[in-house]
């Protein structure tokens, strides 16, 4: 059962007002413009023992994504394809509002939005991940671990997931004559095959204004959010309206345009990231 959140921190009324007043003037309490992201730093291979990993800092928000490659069974309706699994943990270390326990609706929503943005446009070339078609395939586990929640978790997580997949290595696998599968994770045979790159841009609505990359404080003031996943070729690879407010049709169009525009910047950051390695 989904319940209107009641444990959200209380932002002083004065602070709310100043966020609102500034936004109406086109600026933010931290001095950014409405269409400006906080400083983004991506650390690749933060977890060397994982097949792929990346730590993303977006301002004070910190998200770590680890990718594990395991041998498993294919889904019955796609016997010749690998399996993608996306999971998110909002561990209590990351925020005073996070509780220990299984993922709540926010963590599940975040994981599923990212899952769909990766799956639908086929970011991973799952067809190349069969080991014994119909029986054994690679399972790609994308585990999103939030370490510090300072707002805009979805964009940071999506970026970290993409960055981790881009540095994921394929472990060596051998199939014996009896059909036994033997994996040697200490030897790598190339990179995880990717078809596309996707980033997610979440646009917040405050009164009649739209902005990107909200901080946790700004999130407490927003009316609603629209997350738009953008592929490297400028297509929309998924959307999710979040929060209890609403958008006019016109606002949605503007938000999508803002996301498409800003998405290009995130793609440039990924391009730099991969070039540096």
């Amino acid at each position: 059962m989904s319940t209107t959140p009641s444990n959200i921190p209380i932002l002083p009324k004065l602070k709310k007002e100043s966020i609102r007043t500034l936004v109406a003037k086109g600026i933010r309490i931290d001095g950014r413009k409405l269409n400006e992201y906080r400083k983004i730093v991506i650390e690749p291979n933060y977890i060397p023992k994982a097949e792929g990993s990346a730590l993303v800092r977006m301002g004070d928000t910190v998200v770590l994504v680890g990718v594990k490659m395991e041998v498993g069974q294919p889904f019955p309706d796609t016997p010749n394809e690998g399996v993608l699994m996306v999971n998110a943990e909002f561990v209590p270390l990351a925020s005073p509002t996070f509780e220990p326990g299984p993922p709540d609706e926010n963590a599940i929503e975040l994981a599923r939005v990212i899952d769909r943005s990766l799956r639908e446009i086929r970011v991973i070339d799952l067809e190349k991940l069969a080991i014994i078609p119909g029986e054994k395939v690679w399972m790609v586990w994308v585990d999103i671990y939030v370490l510090n929640h300072a707002g805009n978790l979805l964009d940071a997580s999506s970026l970290a997931a993409m960055a981790a997949l881009m540095v994921t290595k394929m472990p060596k696998v051998e199939v014996s004559e009896q059909g036994e599968v033997k994996v040697d994770k200490s030897v790598h045979v190339g990179s995880l095959p990717l078809n596309h790159r996707v980033v997610t841009v979440t646009v917040g609505k405050l009164d009649e204004y739209l902005l990107v990359d909200p901080t946790d404080e700004e999130e407490l003031v927003l009316d609603a959010k629209l997350a738009v996943s953008v592929s490297e070729d400028g297509r929309i690879a998924g959307m999710q309206k979040m929060g209890p407010g609403d958008f006019t049709v016109d606002e949605v169009y503007k938000a999508v345009n803002l996301a498409l525009e800003t998405g290009k910047e995130l793609h440039s950051i990924l391009e730099e990231y991969v070039a540096k390695r």
């Binding site: 989904s2 446009i121 209890p244 949605v252």
Partner: protein, 244 residues
């Protein structure tokens, strides 16, 4: 085994079930179908059949999850085990947890929650038979149940899913079109206010396709809204949206 993809758009431009691309399935609505709930409605979009009930405003336990300045909305979207092709385990799936959240948020925009501080308004949506579009059918039914419960609303909320199948944008996709199509975009609106309260896209669209798809959704939602008002009129007088 993956079944072969069926042809979704026929030679004559019509869909596998004979509908035009911009045509809704046959829709049936009935308000006030359960005696215990404060409000209830049964809605069918083709073979998709959903029942919704509203309890409340009522007291909330434990008190510490109530809000001092308004009601909380609690919402559960749930599928009956016999509603799907293969029996569904009745424990809530991750999908049901996500949909409960986005449906709650889609309804919350329409409810004057500030009228009932410390209370809860509970919305229970049960999918009895699933054939595509269950979340939007559920929203349409839940809005009727809220109105039937006498809870003041800014406007009704109505929903429909637009899809892209065989390259064509189509209205109110069914399960076959969802399964084999390229995109599924559920939308819900407060129609007379022109406000979108639910918007998801599962699939890939170009920006142009997206704009066209949203227009198609708006068109369908307006038709559904008309039916909602008729269904309520059948039981009551006509509902008056806030600003029309």
């Amino acid at each position: 085994m993956k079944k072969e993809k069926p042809k979704l758009i026929r030679e004559d431009g019509l869909r596998h079930d004979g509908r035009r691309p911009d045509e809704l399935r046959p829709i049936r609505m009935e308000v006030g179908v359960l005696s215990n709930a404060n409000g209830s409605a049964l809605v069918e979009y083709g073979k998709t059949k959903v029942i919704a009930a509203v309890y409340g405003p009522r007291e909330l336990h434990p008190r510490h999850i109530s809000l001092p300045d308004r009601a909380v909305i609690r919402c559960r979207y749930h599928m009956a085990p016999f509603s799907t092709e293969e029996r569904k385990n009745p424990a809530p799936s991750r999908r049901e947890i996500e949909l409960s959240k986005v449906i709650r948020e889609a309804l919350e925009a329409a409810v004057f929650t500030e009228l009932y501080p410390r209370a809860t308004i509970d919305v229970f949506i049960e999918v009895l038979q699933a054939d595509g579009g269950t979340r939007t059918t559920g929203i349409t039914a839940a809005a009727l149940a809220l109105a039937d419960a006498g809870i003041p609303l800014r406007d009704l909320v109505a929903g429909v899913a637009v899809g892209k199948v065989d390259g064509v944008l189509v209205l109110d996709i069914d399960q076959l079109e969802d399964e084999y199509g390229e995109a599924d975009m559920p939308v819900a609106m407060m129609p007379s206010l022109g406000k979108i309260t639910l918007l998801q896209l599962n699939g890939v669209l170009t920006p142009e396709e997206f704009r066209e798809a949203l227009k198609l959704a708006e068109k369908g939602i307006k038709e559904i809204y008309r039916m909602q008002r008729e269904a309520l009129k059948k039981k009551y007088v006509e509902i008056k949206p806030e600003e029309t």
